[in-house]
Symmetry: C2
Subunit: 370 residues, 2 copies
């Protein structure tokens, strides 16, 4: 049973509140660091606590294939397995099975596919995806959906959306009475506003404890993302958490908050970190750029994190160019610090009734892609 | 100017003391974590402090090629560049240039070679190797030598040893009056006891502030290593630190201490860590082994480090098999903890006059290769 208390709504439509589920809570808007394989890449769980991450996400698809459900069940679930005592969320694997695995057959029943690790054959259905997530025992679990390809013809979008909505109902059936975990539905509909409307309407009729928007930020122009988002978010039940999956940059998140989004996840802070890129208050810096060769200044002079207080850009650039793990550690840590402080700042701006102004200032400061 | 105070000598020949150089000190016997490219792989400098590492080693060859001397000079030297405030030592590059770089020409003057990074041409001479180490500004620097190949014919060993000894004298010349760093000589002589004797005698006549034994643990049988070590160590001035380069396993180090060795360096704790292997009190465990698949116990039940207090073998095995950086971090941290606690235990055993017994017990507990 999930409780969601909206503590304040900003004139912009942004809202801040608190979710509690099974005795564990997190403040919204929330950013969920991505622990795909039960580890947020390059960081320890202790560091995530130190960074005040309140909830993390893992992927059912990956954990089902490796290390397998039996071990995680034996360990007491995902949290005890990875020694993370805060709230957890698992993605159902819908997105991963369609993007990572060689598919064998997709029918209305489910998806048979080969493991991207060892080629073994597996079948995922709405029911089995829920049962897998029961075994993993995250606090929040996601419905199993068929993501819409991008770009896609309208008929393809419609077919995948209708199937996802049928699967959503089967996920609810599989979950009913079986677990105290909170199940979220995922609205599809691609870039067709009327299909988004229909999907949102159908899902709102099902007893989900939260609603995600899937299929955005899949390569489309940003303006389109935010047009579809602004269309879809208000269709979701206002008293339930709204989760924008796989989004995004700091600028993306602050814009989405204005549409009433409460939860985000994204691999960017750690992926960019491993790739030598750091977010700063004003945009991104890529340490591979020769201009940082002799730059003995702090990574982000406006940041108070341990990395910025300790190491220089030139040293971090040297580590990255030399393939040292410490570069990935430091940049991932700093980026995660920036993301989590940004969510704190967003929550404070909403409480102060000035979220629109906060967003405008942030967007003006950042480069277009920052 | 280096000061070495031997505080206690054990009946076995082992000794414990303290080295101070330029106001920074470390206790002996000491293990030096290897920061080849100005980073101990997978660990932060803060973690090394927390693990009570007292001195670290970096490689002049690597740092000269990347990021280059100018940057490190500008940063104030190796320590300030990497934000390590304890003592530092640089290896001269003799070993690296002969093992990593495509050689162009080796003459009595020095070695011309191509960078293993970008193929650019460089010349290292005894003088330039010392000047490079002056720029890096580590507290202890090493003479530039030509390592003896293994296996080698006696004439090859003799030629390389004679050349190294001539180069040692040129290093002393290049260093004299130019810096307050402490210069160590490196005894060669391969596996020929009489050549070791001659090399040690020649080097002892030069005003080095410490003496290293090079060219051991290069693939030869362990018995031969320790026969040559037992022959060579007593030939080195007893009032100067004795440094056994590139050695070794916990068992190797405890045996070498009995021959009066004061300093060690080795990549094993971090290299094995990245490779999925952990040292434990009784030997090594390789987490790739299927027997750890469901092992929810601590990595090393006898260890008090944060990794062993937190994560299970099965979780760490999963991380390693999944290619997660956290596996390398945790295993490197644990292994380094074990190495540094071992040196503390060795020092305590020497102070208690029971180093031989300590060594016998440790060797009995460990597997042959542990």
């Amino acid at each position: 049973m999930l409780h969601f208390t909206i503590q304040q709504t900003d004139p912009s439509g942004a809202r801040t509140g608190r979710v509690t589920v099974r005795g564990r809570g997190f403040d919204t808007p929330a950013f969920l660091p991505v622990a795909t394989q039960a580890s947020v890449k390059a960081l320890t769980q202790e560091e995530l606590v130190h960074l005040k991450s309140q909830i993390i996400l893992a992927n059912a698809y990956h954990l089902y294939l490796r290390p397998g459900l039996e071990l995680i069940r034996q360990a007491g679930g995902l949290g005890p397995f990875m020694r993370w005592s805060g709230p957890t969320l698992t993605d159902s694997g819908g997105y991963q099975v369609f993007s990572l695995a060689p598919l064998i057959e997709v029918t209305d029943d489910g998806v048979s596919f080969r493991s991207h690790i060892d080629g073994s054959e597996h079948l995922l259905t709405p029911r089995s995806a829920i049962e897998i997530q029961h075994a993993l025992d995250a606090d929040i679990i996601m419905a199993f959906d068929q993501p819409v390809a991008h770009p896609a013809r309208r008929e393809e979008t419609q077919a995948a959306t209708l199937r996802s909505d049928r699967w959503a109902a089967r996920c609810v059936e599989a979950h009913r009475g079986a677990s105290d975990q909170a199940l979220f539905g995922i609205v599809q509909g691609g870039f067709e506003p009327d299909l988004r409307t229909e999907s949102a309407r159908r899902l709102a009729e099902l007893p989900f404890e939260g609603y995600a928007i899937g299929g955005l930020s899949v390569g489309e122009p940003k303006d389109l993302t935010f047009r579809i988002l602004a269309h879809t978010a208000p269709l979701l039940p206002a008293d339930r958490p709204r989760y924008l999956m796989g989004v995004g940059t700091p600028a993306d998140m602050v814009r989405a908050v204005l549409s009433g989004i409460d939860m985000f996840d994204c691999v960017l802070p750690t992926r960019l970190g491993r790739n030598g890129t750091a977010y700063t208050k004003t945009g991104k810096i890529n340490l591979k750029n020769a201009r940082y060769q002799d730059d003995l200044g702090a990574l982000d002079p406006d940041c108070g994190c341990e990395v910025c207080a300790t190491y220089s850009r030139a040293y971090l650039r040297h580590l990255h160019k030399s393939g040292e793990i410490l570069a990935a550690r430091c940049l991932s840590y700093h980026n995660m610090h920036l993301y989590l402080r940004l969510m704190e700042d967003i929550r404070a701006a909403i409480r102060a009734g000035r979220c629109r102004q906060f967003a405008d200032e942030l967007l003006a400061r950042r480069e277009e892609n920052g």
